[in-house]
């Protein structure tokens, strides 16, 4: 049989692609890989699943889509994995499992999970005489550090943060900054809050930070661009996904493997929702006609054995992180990646159900788990990017965003 | 084989009547030339016969059978176009073979005919060339070759020589004439060239605005044009037409006298005039003479080189037996 898998071109998925022939040989099946950039992937998979196109047997989807799609019965429930002793679903962190469930059904199996924390360069901090914070710093303090570390003449920028527009790109970071500044997306009546002073403070902070201590062209940089910059030694600090840690600390792929360490993502008026929560997981669309093969692959690709395989072939530092307790506690992992504990702790401390200072009607840290969020998040992301690029002011950007959000929520019937 | 009759054939393009109902008979084996001013409908008439245009009304009969609604391919006629219309991507051999191929003739018969046509037309050495590699005259011959092999009931030629240069034209003209003698197939030939019409035709059809002005042998037309139009159209340089007193003397509205039928003298003659332009060709001299009543300038053609020049006074005497008389309606008198 031939199955088609839609995946994003992140490093962990590329690794899976490399290892997959093992599964193909074992089962006699073959795989068609459709590797796409994240935005394109999301658009393709959504179109396909929403129209029942049936082009894919397995999709890589995230913590945002899974519960929404699951609730609409677009995905095949994977509850039978709970009974599979071999697979040991209990080994997967409950937080992650819950994030991939809806109405009590599990709809996707996680490859890795992540929160955000701060990557920093030990050598640069030392050279600049900046003290490494021991507890969670505030964004204000963070800005000061970044300013001191900023040295563009030598090709080093104080901080690299996501600037490329998109709810999964810049808004992931900006969303956590907003949370830290006490802002939220909607009040309890689903009224958008983007014109609040908290949002203003957060975005103003973000824009100033990037203008003062960021690299040029930041509004085009997403996660992958920043990762490349950081690994190339061009950034002193970077608040981003814990899942990048393995790659950054991998001497084979990174020039700063031994000069990087981590601390928590900063807080400001609150420490709620300052680190995001995300997982990339594999799901089977309800329209797939090859469910058995797909399940077989799912099981293989998220099993303990798979992580073992990655550890053996790519090094334990490169193992996808944040999903399986047994993996995170594996001695080989801990030896290769001494920071693993920090990551697990960080992930487990996130609470998507209570992401903000003030009470909100939604779950999700850096996103809002409703279908309309994609559109709103993308739009706000564009506006913030425009403010970052100097194409508009923060006030204009947020005013536009608010208008847009009100419109969308009205259209969708949240606001009567 | 080759008798063509047009009965009340009419052609309109939209609302414009290009050919008013017209009758014409072409006998078997005749060489008929259509002449007439540009736009008079020569090509249209030919294309009606060929079947490339539908008649608006009237009938066309070929060898006694009604062919009005037959498609071109079924009429058994062959046409040689002004631009030759050779197939540029085929060799000469293939060009000539094409109509036979369309007729699904056996290969060996095709080859036989190609060889004989090529021989007749002096094309044997060029059979494998493409038309692009041939000279104008050779192309012309290929076009004729393509027409011959079908052994058509009649050949239609639409100004086939007008793209050739003067010298070549003379040669090709003679070749077509010889071909006609040999094949004895009906030929219909459109031209606006005087010399071609006069030298090749058994019968000339003079057209004006779609109407047949006169049908007859070349010398008939030369000697007894039916009206002023034909008189002026046939013969080069043009016949001098004289109105007024001089004509009245011959009790006609207009009299015509051809340039070659006037004698020039520096001393005495019937009319007196002054030389305008004298064109010395060496073999002939064309003298354009002003100051003669009713006709200005009057053209005279004399053999050899006559030493007259601009401004000279000369005397002219027409050959009285060769004066043409026309009535007020333009028709020939007597």
């Amino acid at each position: 049989e031939e199955i088609t898998i839609a995946t994003v071109n992140n490093a962990d998925m590329i690794t899976m692609q490399e290892l997959a022939p093992a599964w193909e040989e074992a089962t006699g099946n073959t795989i068609n890989w459709v590797v796409l950039e994240e935005n394109v992937l999301r658009q393709r998979t959504t179109t396909d699943i929403a129209t029942g196109g049936g082009s894919f047997d397995i999709m890589f989807i995230g913590a945002y889509e899974t519960p929404i799609w699951g609730a609409k019965d677009w995905l095949t429930p994977l509850n039978d994995f709970a009974d599979d002793a071999d697979y040991d679903l209990e080994d997967v962190f409950p937080l992650v499992r819950n994030g991939l469930s809806a109405n009590g059904n599990l709809y996707a199996l996680p490859l890795y999970s992540e929160t955000s924390f701060t990557f920093y360069r030990t050598d640069l901090f030392e050279a600049a005489g900046v003290e490494v914070p021991t507890a969670q710093p505030t964004y204000e303090e963070f800005a000061e550090m970044a300013a001191k570390l900023h040295d563009p003449d030598n090709g080093v920028y104080g901080t690299c943060q996501r600037g490329k527009a998109g709810w999964g790109e810049n808004m992931a970071f900006v969303g956590t900054v907003a949370n830290a500044f006490g802002a939220d997306w909607f009040d309890m009546d689903w009224n958008p809050q983007l014109d609040s002073p908290e949002w203003n403070a957060a975005v103003t902070y973000y824009v100033d930070l990037m203008n003062n201590s960021g690299p040029p062209g930041a509004s085009a940089n997403g996660h992958n661009e920043n990762r490349a910059l950081f690994k190339d030694g061009k950034c002193a600090t970077w608040v981003d996904a814990t899942s990048a840690a393995g790659d950054v600390r991998n001497p084979e792929t990174s020039s700063v493997a031994d000069k990087t360490d981590f601390f928590q993502a900063p807080k400001q008026v609150t420490d709620k929702g300052t680190g995001w929560f995300w997982s990339w997981a594999l799901a089977i669309p309800a329209s797939s006609k090859k469910v058995d093969e797909a399940k077989s692959f799912l099981k293989w690709a998220t099993s303990k054995e798979y992580f073992e395989m990655v550890g053996e072939s790519k090094g334990w530092v490169a193992v996808p992180s944040g999903t399986r307790k047994s993996v995170e506690e594996d001695a080989r992992r801990l030896e290769a990646a001494p920071f693993a504990n920090t990551i697990v702790e960080a992930i487990l401390s996130v609470n998507p159900a209570d992401p903000t200072r003030d009470p909100v009607p939604y779950t999700g840290v850096q996103f809002v788990a409703i279908p309309e969020f994609q559109g709103i998040g993308n739009y706000v992301g564009q506006q913030v990017a425009a403010a970052l690029a100097g194409q508009s002011t923060v006030e204009e950007a947020l005013a536009n965003s608010q208008k847009f959000a009100v419109r969308e929520m009205t259209k969708a019937g949240y606001i009567k | 084989m080759g008798r063509i009759q047009l009965k009340q054939v009419q052609k309109k393009f939209g609302d414009v009547e290009v050919i008013p109902p017209l009758d014409l008979e072409i006998e078997e084996g005749e060489f008929v030339v259509f002449v007439g001013p540009s736009g008079c409908g020569k090509s249209t008439l030919l294309r009606l016969i060929a079947g490339l245009e539908d008649t608006t009304s009237g009938n066309i009969e070929i060898d006694g059978a009604d062919a009005t609604d037959l498609p071109p391919a079924k009429r058994g006629l062959a046409m040689v176009f002004q631009s030759y219309a050779l197939y540029p991507h085929m060799s000469v051999r293939k060009n000539i073979a094409f109509p036979m191929k369309m007729a699904k003739m056996p290969e060996d018969e095709q080859n036989r005919r190609i060889e004989s046509a090529a021989k007749a037309l002096n094309l044997t050495d060029y059979l494998d060339r493409k038309p692009g590699q041939l000279s104008g005259g050779q192309r012309q011959r290929v076009a004729i070759g393509r027409a011959i092999v079908r052994e058509p009931a009649a050949f239609l030629f639409d100004e086939p020589l007008s793209n050739l240069d003067a010298a070549l034209r003379v040669g090709m003209r003679m070749e077509i004439g010889e071909l006609h003698k040999k094949l004895e197939t009906t030929m219909i030939y459109v031209t606006h060239d005087q010399v071609e019409a006069m030298t090749m035709a058994d019968k000339i059809v003079v057209l004006q605005a779609g109407v047949i002005e006169q049908v007859g042998s070349p010398l008939e037309l030369y000697r007894t044009p039916r009206n002023k139009f034909v008189a002026g159209f046939i013969g080069s340089p043009k016949m001098n037409l004289i109105e007024g007193n001089e004509a009245a003397k011959h009790s006609a509205h207009t009299i015509g006298i051809r340039p070659e039928h006037i004698e020039v003298s520096t001393t005495e003659g019937q009319w007196k005039g002054t030389v305008g332009v004298a064109e010395h060709l060496g073999s002939d001299t064309f003298i354009h003479i002003h100051g003669i009543e009713g006709c200005d300038p009057m053209t005279v053609r004399t053999a050899g080189d006559v030493p007259v020049k601009h401004g000279d006074t000369v005397f002219l005497t027409p050959n009285p037996s060769l004066i043409h008389k026309f009535g007020a309606d333009g028709l020939r008198l007597a």
Binding site: A165, P216, A218, S219, N378 | D54
Partner: protein, 290 residues
């Protein structure tokens, strides 16, 4: 040429193309039109109630709408201006006698063969990236602040990339047209005392008029639906700085999955395109007949 028989076979022969194109136009267009009156979001399947003009209301009041119209205009206009003027210059240059004309022509037309996606990616990363791109490195090497192309001058950058791809096309057509200019005309003008500038203005440019209209027509058709270049470079941003109508519809129907509004946008775009088409056709129709 035109007999009854040939006219009826002509109708028969043109039929497949007309029927296919008519189907291609009417079926999706009909569906689009139909969808544009439904509240139809892919993410909310099930009922798709009829909502009248609501989707049009939302589309027209979309804060990005005016910007998208303007951007479309600037993009198409900008690229047309650059490629036509540039194309004329290139054509004049390449028309001159020179050595290695073949090689040079190959180099000039090469961009035409490059996929839009590739060209977007290459320019974005290898050239316009302010840190690692060539332009950035040269600027840094010379001690200047590198330009953040897609942040500071996003539209200009897109216009530049698209122009790079379409300049060869304009050059090719204009060059062929120039080569068809009767040399005797130029020589006559020269005898008439016309300087090079006069010959260009009075003889060559009018001769090129027809070719220029064709360039404009064909390019407009393609430029109105420029998409891939924007998608891979700026995603329509920053803000809406590079969102053209096509991209806006893409955002509505494929990022927000609001097929209703996307369809309304599609209908609007189709109407606009046809207005443009109408004027272009008239212009070119006139020019082609002459």
């Amino acid at each position: 040429m035109a007999t009854k028989a040939s006219r009826s076979s002509a109708r028969l022969m043109i039929a497949p193309a007309v029927i296919l194109l008519l189907g291609w136009m009417i079926i999706p267009l009909g569906m689009t039109l139909y969808f544009s009156f439904l509240r139809y979001n892919l993410l909310q399947p099930g009922l798709a109630p009829f909502v009248g003009w609501e989707n049009y209301y939302w589309f027209f009041t979309d804060p990005s709408f005016t910007a998208a119209m303007w951007n479309t205009l600037v993009l198409v206009g900008g690229v047309l201006t650059i490629t036509t003027i540039g194309g004329i210059c290139f054509a004049l240059l390449l028309d001159r006698p020179m050595f290695g004309q073949g090689i040079i022509r190959i180099m000039v037309i090469a961009p035409f063969f490059v996929m839009p996606t590739v060209s977007g990616l290459v320019w974005k990363n290898m050239f316009m990236n302010p840190v690692n791109g060539i332009f950035g490195q040269i600027a840094t090497g010379l001690g200047f602040q590198p330009i953040d192309f897609f942040g500071q001058i996003p539209m200009a950058s897109i216009i530049f990339i698209v122009s790079w791809m379409w300049l060869p096309f304009a050059t090719l057509i204009l060059l062929t047209a120039l080569q068809s200019l009767d040399q005797e005309q130029l020589e006559a003008a020269e005898m008439d005392g016309a300087s090079w500038a006069n010959r260009f203005w009075f003889i060559m440019l009018p001769h090129l008029a027809r070719a220029i209209t064709v360039v404009i027509l064909i390019q407009t058709i393609f430029l109105l639906s420029i998409f891939a270049e924007i998608l891979v470079t700026t995603n329509g941003g920053p803000g809406v700085a590079t969102t053209n109508l096509t991209y806006l519809i893409y955002v509505s129907s494929l990022l927000q999955f609001d097929v209703g509004i996307g369809s309304a946008g599609g209908v609007v775009a189709i109407i606009l395109a046809n207005i443009v088409a109408f004027f272009l056709m008239r212009m070119i129709g006139k020019n082609l007949d002459a």
